[in-house]
Amino acid sequence: MRRDLRGIAERTRFALSITPMIDVVFLLLVYFLLTSGFVSRERLLRTEQAPQGIERAADAMTLEAEPLVIALARGDDGVRITLPEGIAPVRDASALEVALRDVLLSPASPRGMFAADHPVRLAPAPDVAWADVVRAFHAVTRAGYRSIAFGGGR
């Protein structure tokens, strides 16, 4: 009798309870599916207005500010950025951000040349890589300019 009881106790001790384990495994599976599906590195750079350049019809009755044109061309070692006279030449997007911030008119720098809503035109040449265009666009927005159009590059 005592031996039988001990046998039952041993069997009970080693019995594997499958149901809660499957529950936990499925919950983990669902958790990983959820996280892998929703963790995305994709972000957005918002353009305040659509690319104008070609599409925009000229309005003869409106006197618009001369846009600040930033030309992008393909150089030997990456992109070549050309700025209007009066702005220090730059070699890359980081320097572009600094240069444009230096000429931004703001309460902190009342001697700046351009207001934040001054039209800026990014004029990439057709063979410039999209990454360089985006980098330049991002530099202009980070410098504080809000009215940016694309087009006009040759």
């Binding site: 499957i22 529950d23 499925f26 919950l27 599976l29 669902v30 599916l33 959820l34 892998s36 599906g37 590195r41 994709e42 972000r43 957005l44 750079l45 918002r46 353009t47 207005q49 659509a50 690319p51 104008q52 070609i54 599409e55 992008l72 990439p124 040449a125 057709p126 063979d127 410039v128 890589a129 999209w130 990454a131 265009v133 985006v134 980098r135 666009f137 991002h138 980070r142 694309f150 087009g151 590059g153």
Partner: protein, 140 residues
């Protein structure tokens, strides 16, 4: 419990596949972490500039529909987008292009979004968002 779990798995697998169909695989331009906005759940259409060798493109894809990279294809893309603008004048166009694709192939898609809003009329404003990838935070 197992039945419910299976249903959830099937649901998420399906949702993931639908999301993948909208987003063509490509290497997006990268920006510093925290410097770009997260996508919101507003009305949007994703335009993929399909990458091809040497910075060219294989066309423009919206979901499963592919428009070829010709003047006719761009016009059809503009027509497709204008239908979206007619349904929702606040539609946002998310533009995805590979970092190596040349600007000459991206610009027609941007132009198509502008043309589409104009074709749709009814006060539709072209909202163009450039899709980028955020650099990993531990990157130097």
């Amino acid at each position: 419990m197992i039945d419910v779990s299976f249903l959830l798995i099937v649901f998420f697998v399906l949702v993931t596949r639908i999301t993948d169909a909208e987003q063509a695989p490509m290497a997006l331009p990268e920006v510093r972490a925290g410097s770009a906005a997260r996508a919101e759940d507003d009305a949007r259409v994703i335009v993929n500039v399909l990458p091809a060798p040497a910075g060219a493109t294989g066309g423009y894809a919206v979901g499963a529909t592919v428009f070829d990279a010709s003047a006719d294809g761009v016009a059809r893309l503009a027509g497709f987008l204008s239908d979206g603008y007619r349904r929702n004048p606040r539609l946002a166009v998310h533009l995805r292009a590979d970092r190596a694709t040349r600007y000459e192939w991206v610009e027609p898609a941007m132009r198509a979004a502008t043309t589409a809003a104009r074709l749709a009329g009814r006060g539709a404003l072209p909202r163009l968002d450039l899709v980028v990838a955020e650099e990993a935070r531990d990157a130097p």
